[in-house]
């Protein structure tokens, strides 16, 4: 597994998204930075509650789309005009209207595939060490809204953090150690 090196941290579960939102605000307000909210579905307002900024992925999409346009035009110009111009039905080599569909398609192709890959990658890069999914069932992919504070957080202190999470009203608060074992 190439996933985050540290699996140490504290987690606590909530049953409804509203509670998780409040918990996220409080955790953020408490000065934790290496914390995360794990939810079965994206909860509206969670980014603000956690103090996260807008995703930067869309800017890259624009770059990729532009690259797609350039690549398509370059390919077709090279092939149809420069490398071996031929006479198709009396049209000139540079029959530009015919180049539009492929340009559009390649733009979408580059932008879409690139965006998806970058978003998945960014999801890994822009995050704190996660509770190891193979070892711990957080319930966050099922019916639980989980607050997770990683041990890498400068403010992390197993006892205090545990207490803090419990103070948020979370259930099943656990301390996860390096081996991924959970302790209540």
């Amino acid at each position: 597994m190439t996933f985050p090196t540290s699996s140490k941290g504290v987690l606590g579960q909530f049953a409804v998204p509203d509670e998780a939102l409040v918990a996220a605000q409080k955790t953020h307000a408490a000065g934790y930075t290496h914390f995360d909210m794990l939810t079965p579905f994206p909860v509206h307002g969670m980014d603000d509650a956690m103090g996260l900024k807008r995703s930067w992925v869309p800017y890259l999409t624009a770059v990729l789309a532009f690259f797609g346009i350039v690549a398509a035009q370059a390919m077709m110009l090279y092939i149809m005009v420069y490398d071996w111009p031929m006479n198709f039905g009396g049209k000139p080599a540079f029959a530009w209207p015919a180049f539009i569909p492929i340009t559009f398609e390649l733009m979408v192709l580059f932008a879409a595939i690139g965006t998806a890959i970058i978003a998945v990658w960014a999801g890994k890069r822009d995050t704190v060490p996660q509770p190891p999914p193979m070892l711990i069932k957080t319930g966050a992919t099922r019916d639980k809204f989980v607050v997770w504070i990683s041990a890498t957080d400068p403010k992390f202190n197993p006892a205090n953090t545990l207490a803090f999470v419990q103070s948020l009203g979370a259930h099943g608060v656990k301390l996860v150690d390096e081996k991924g074992d959970a302790h209540a």
Binding site: M1, T2, F3, W84, I117, W121, K124
Partner: protein, 196 residues
């Protein structure tokens, strides 16, 4: 970017390699270096090659090279016909009814001659059946000064000094087109020039 797990990494790497492999294979021409086994170990360099006289152990002057027989002594028709033609056996026998009577391969040649069988040469410069190449149209082409544009060696390279005939050039369509495109050749790159 880091891929999440080993199998995925492996799959991507293998996929990419396979893709590039296929691509490279399509670009490399399998014709180059083609040198099939011939029924007679015929050496162009002994016939058309440059002479190489040496003194052997017995102090005799022997020619280890060739006799500079001109191409068209054997390949008679390149200027007149589509094919340069392989020599009919009687052309071989012009000399070999006298010369080299004891040589292993000359005996094989004579065997074909006695039996009246054609020598089953294996085609080396074998164009696909849908390519129409005309030796005469190439060799008779002249430039503005009236000089011939091409000679045998332009395409067949130094075949006269080969011991085994083989395809020395890329010998694919790209190779033909490369030359046809040269402005000084003033040749056509229309499809029907070769395909019809």
């Amino acid at each position: 970017m880091k891929l999440p797990n080993k199998p995925m990494q492996l799959a991507v790497v293998l996929g990419a390699l396979a893709g590039f492999g296929v691509l490279a294979f399509l670009m490399i021409n399998p014709k180059q270096g083609y040198a099939p086994k011939q029924p007679i170990f015929f050496q162009h360099k002994r016939m058309a090659g440059d002479p190489n006289w040496v003194t052997d152990a017995n102090g005799k002057e022997v020619n280890l090279g060739g006799y500079q027989i001109p191409c068209r002594y054997c390949h008679t028709m390149p200027y007149e016909g589509r094919h340069s033609t392989l020599p009919s056996t009687d052309i071989c026998m012009n000399c070999h009814s006298v010369v080299g009577q004891d040589k292993e391969w000359v005996l094989v040649l004579k065997g074909y001659w006695e039996r009246g069988e054609p020598i089953p040469w294996v085609k080396v410069h074998d164009l696909p059946d849908f390519v129409y190449y005309d030796h005469s149209a190439h060799l008779n082409a002249v430039d503005d000064k009236g000089q011939p544009k091409l000679d045998c060696v332009n395409c067949h390279l130094d075949v006269k000094n080969d011991s085994v005939v083989q395809v020395r050039t890329k010998f694919n369509m790209g190779w033909c087109v490369e030359c046809h495109r040269k402005p000084e050749m003033a040749a056509s790159t229309d499809c029907v020039t070769c395909h019809r």
